[in-house]
């Protein structure tokens, strides 16, 4: 999984947001706000982690079972895939 070139996450005034720049800005407009969980997942994808590894990071940060964390990660990754956030 690789995030599409030009989709950049920034922390602005305490919020994590994703903005499209460059070629990606021709397809995506506006901004996407990420909550805490989504931020961890996005960073995990940026760092090249697998879904299992990202889920492990979630369990370190939140009081959540490994199974629930993995389910949440996979759900969000699927959502991101459907929105065209990954290089295909």
């Amino acid at each position: 999984m690789k995030i599409k070139d030009g989709l950049i996450m920034r922390t602005v005034m305490g919020k994590s947001v994703v903005v499209a720049t460059g070629e990606a800005a021709k397809t995506f407009s506006g901004m996407i706000s990420l909550n805490g969980t989504a931020t961890v997942i996005w960073k995990g994808v940026e760092d090249g982690l697998s879904d299992v590894e990202i889920a492990a990071k979630l369990t370190e940060e939140y009081d959540v079972t490994a199974e629930k964390a993995l389910a949440d990660v996979q759900k969000l990754l699927n959502d991101m895939r459907q929105r065209g956030f990954f290089e295909e």
Partner: protein, 148 residues
């Protein structure tokens, strides 16, 4: 993950900040199209000279610089523009530039370097049409040399 609705006004109201990129060339050299990221916050009170508001022009959002504050409006101009827009009212303004990422590097409107740039840019506005003319002449010379 929450998708923000399309209007910047709504995003500013609910999130307190809008983050996006710029389109067009009107704010060069500060911002290049789709390269840089701008951080817009809601306006509280009247704006000042050199502030960069985001305002509505019909259905479009415009991000240009205030060059003069009048009693009930602003004179506004893009850093790379020749023409000035007069009579921009407070109720047209949806937000104001607070921070940015220019070529990936973070900056704020309070940075000394930015403030110097803003003052100099406005002060040397007379050079903008001159730069256009020089560029046009140079381009013509280049094409002539290339042909012959």
């Amino acid at each position: 993950m929450n998708d923000a609705p399309n209007t910047i006004e709504h995003i500013l109201e609910t999130d307190g900040v809008f983050v996006g990129t710029t389109t067009g060339i009107s704010m060069r050299p500060l911002f290049a199209e789709r390269r840089d990221i701008i951080v817009i916050v809601p306006v509280t009170g009247r704006l000042k000279k050199y502030d960069v508001p985001m305002y509505r022009r019909g259905n479009d959002y415009v991000l240009h610089r205030i060059i003069r504050v009048r009693e009930d409006s602003y004179d506004i101009r893009g850093d790379n523009c020749v023409l000035t827009e007069y009579g921009i009212k407070d109720d047209q303004i949806v937000g104001v530039l607070k921070e940015f990422y220019r070529k990936g590097k973070h900056g704020t409107v309070n940075d000394l370097s930015y403030r110097l740039y803003a003052v100099l840019r406005v002060a040397t506005h007379f050079a903008v049409p001159l730069r256009f003319r020089v560029r046009t002449v140079l381009a013509r010379v280049y094409h002539k040399l290339k042909k012959g």
